[in-house]
């Protein structure tokens, strides 16, 4: 009976696209290829154990010749041993270590991630490998160079949205998210700011202090910014100002030092980052900027927000006062100090000459 099923399974499998696939997967698919198979756990939860043979064959694992028991080591025998896990989630959590032997690097990284810490706490639903990468259907998302393929990047927000739905909705409407939806792979997705596998807790001070560098990675890249006619001076102007200088100082010296100084996202938004020309949310609207100022400077009035030059390098037209002040001291300092130094040098040399002449005269007087 078993033999017969195996044989027909093999034929069925071949009829699908699995000519190159090893027989072991076919053996399993005999049962697990049947739609609607589920397994129930003690706590009443259940798990769909149907494997879509087509998806498996097209997946990176299936197409590279991985077999089911590479991961499901305890299921080599049939009938399978009784499941030890008490719930569907417990089963998933007890199996995510099966990724380690092949994906050692990623596995080690995720051990430092925020999700695994959440699981260690009480949030058992926090993501493990298989929650983001369905091992039975995951396509190859990296190219030959190990970098993410464009089609891989475009899909990232949906993956995160499986849990972080509200954030994805915000992101989708942001200037970055809209572009990504339009198929533009230039813009950052979740992982460009939050990292991948070793995702840090974004609520920490260290994350806050490091955030300007994240934005700057792209926003100081002349090649990327030229394409969208965006300024690459945003970091420089931020760091030159009071707030940015403190934030970057803390970041390089005391990454755990709490600060009230604004970082990029305090003004530009976190996930709902708008274009600077967005009429609805634009920072160019003074009231918006003033509100941001007032968070820390509660008595600030209308003029106050102009103290921040909105990332513009001071020019004669836009900010003449700053421009002329700077120019005045650029001339005054070398002019005055240089003039002083010239006089001091001439005085020093002249006095040395005078002294030498004096000594010579005395010497002649003595010998004469």
């Amino acid at each position: 009976m078993k033999r017969l099923r195996l044989g027909s399974g093999f034929l069925l499998g071949s009829a699908l696209v699995l000519l190159a696939a090893p027989t072991r997967a076919q053996e399993c698919l005999d049962c697990h290829g049947q739609p609607g198979s589920t397994v129930s756990f003690k706590d009443g939860s259940s798990k769909d154990i149907t494997i879509d043979a087509e998806a498996w064959a097209a997946s990176v694992h299936g197409s590279m010749g991985a077999t089911c028991t590479d991961c499901h080591t305890e299921h080599k025998e049939y009938p399978h041993p009784e499941l030890k896990a008490g719930s569907a989630r417990e089963y998933t959590l007890s199996h995510y270590t099966s990724c380690e032997p092949c994906h050692d690097e990623q596995f080690k990284k995720q051990l430092d991630g925020v999700h695994i810490k959440a699981i260690a706490g009480s949030h058992k639903n926090a993501a493990v490998c298989s929650d983001c990468h369905n091992p039975h259907a995951q396509k190859k998302i990296t190219g030959e160079d190990g970098k993410l393929l464009p089609e891989g990047r475009v899909g990232i927000p949906q993956t995160c949205a499986r849990c972080h739905r509200e954030i994805q909705v915000k992101y989708r409407e942001s200037v970055h998210g809209q572009a990504l939806v339009d198929g533009n792979p230039d813009v950052p997705t979740c992982i460009d700011c939050h990292g991948v596998h070793d995702i840090p807790d974004p609520r920490t001070t260290a994350f806050r202090l490091a955030s300007p560098r994240m934005c700057a990675d792209c926003h100081t890249d002349a090649k990327k910014m030229a394409k969208y006619k965006l300024s690459t001076q945003v970091l420089r102007t931020y760091v030159a100002d009071f707030h940015g200088s403190t934030v970057t100082l803390f970041q390089r010296r005391h990454p755990d030092q709490v600060t009230n100084k604004p970082v990029c996202y305090d003004c530009h938004g976190i996930h709902d980052i708008a274009s600077k020309s967005d009429p609805k949310k634009s920072l160019q609207v003074k009231a918006n900027l003033l509100q941001t100022c007032q968070k820390c400077h509660p008595d600030a009035t209308a003029n106050f927000s102009d103290a921040w030059l909105s990332h513009y390098i001071p020019t004669r037209e836009r900010t003449p006062l700053v421009y002329w002040s700077r120019l005045a001291y650029q001339i005054l300092i070398p002019g005055v100090v240089g003039g002083m130094a010239l006089f001091v040098a001439s005085d020093f040399l002249r006095r040395r000459l005078d002294r030498r002449r004096h000594l010579e005269r005395r010497h002649r007087g003595e010998t004469a």
């Binding site: 760091v239 030159a240 100002d241 009071f242 200088s245 403190t246 970057t248 100082l249 803390f250 390089r252 010296r253 005391h254 030092q257 709490v258 600060t259 009230n260 100084k261 820390c296 400077h297 509660p298 008595d299 600030a300 009035t301 003029n303 106050f304 927000s305 102009d306 103290a307 921040w308 030059l309 001071p314 900010t319 006062l321 700053v322 002040s325 700077r326 005045a328 001291y329 005054l332 300092i333 005055v336 100090v337 002083m340 130094a341 006089f343 001091v344 001439s346 005085d347 020093f348 040399l349 002249r350 006095r351």
Partner: protein
Amino acid sequence: MSDETTFELPRTYDRFSASDRVQHAVMVISFLVLTVTGLPQKYIYLNNRYLDDLIDLLGGIEGVRVVHRYAATVLMLATVYHLLAAAHRVLVRRVSLSMLPRYQDVVDALQAVRYNLGLAKERPRTDRYTWEEKVEYWSLLWGTVVMIGTGFMLWNPIATARFLPGEFIPAAQVVHGGEALLAILAVLVWHFYSVHLRSFNRAMFTGQMTEHEMEHEHPLELARIKAGEATRAIDPVALARRRKIFLPVAGVVAALLLAGIYWFVTLEQTAITTLPR
């Protein structure tokens, strides 16, 4: 006359009073503290390890800012004292206005330059304050006014923006940093050369100058002293009368200026806090 009565000790001349010397010492200390706490703030964007170390050594950036403000307060108090003391000298004791710039100073400066270049036969013969000292004194006074004005804007940006366009605040930052650098470099080049390197002038510490030093640096003043013209007899009655008017007026002015400083330093603190409240 016997030999004993004509015997003369090497004579010294009074140059700076105790009040002058204390003012100088207070100013030196506050200037140094302002420099040490100001430069790392000005150059924070350079990511320089040593400047960062200095900031940590001084108690972090907030500590640096607090110390800078204390030193600034000391300098402002010293400035108020100096102005009142100068007013007392001029209005009550009616001393000659020897620190005021005159046309002769320009002539002296040009002659000094020409002498150094070998175009004049001798150095200018200078009076109580040389043109070099006047350059320094008036630069310091002007610089202090600029630093107090721009310092106010940086310390109290909310109040500033109530009366002036917001752009004044980043402009104040530029001017405050530029003027600071100018002052520090001027002290290093001008002051250090003229009173430390050329010959070490101890008058600001001892209050005295020797005859030899006077001959070299203030020959005209020395000549006037010797001719008995330097000190005018003061009518004690007139002095007492002037003092009676000066003291209450100066008291009111001092009270107003001190109230101004108190207002200046307590008005706003939001430009300094780095910790969320």
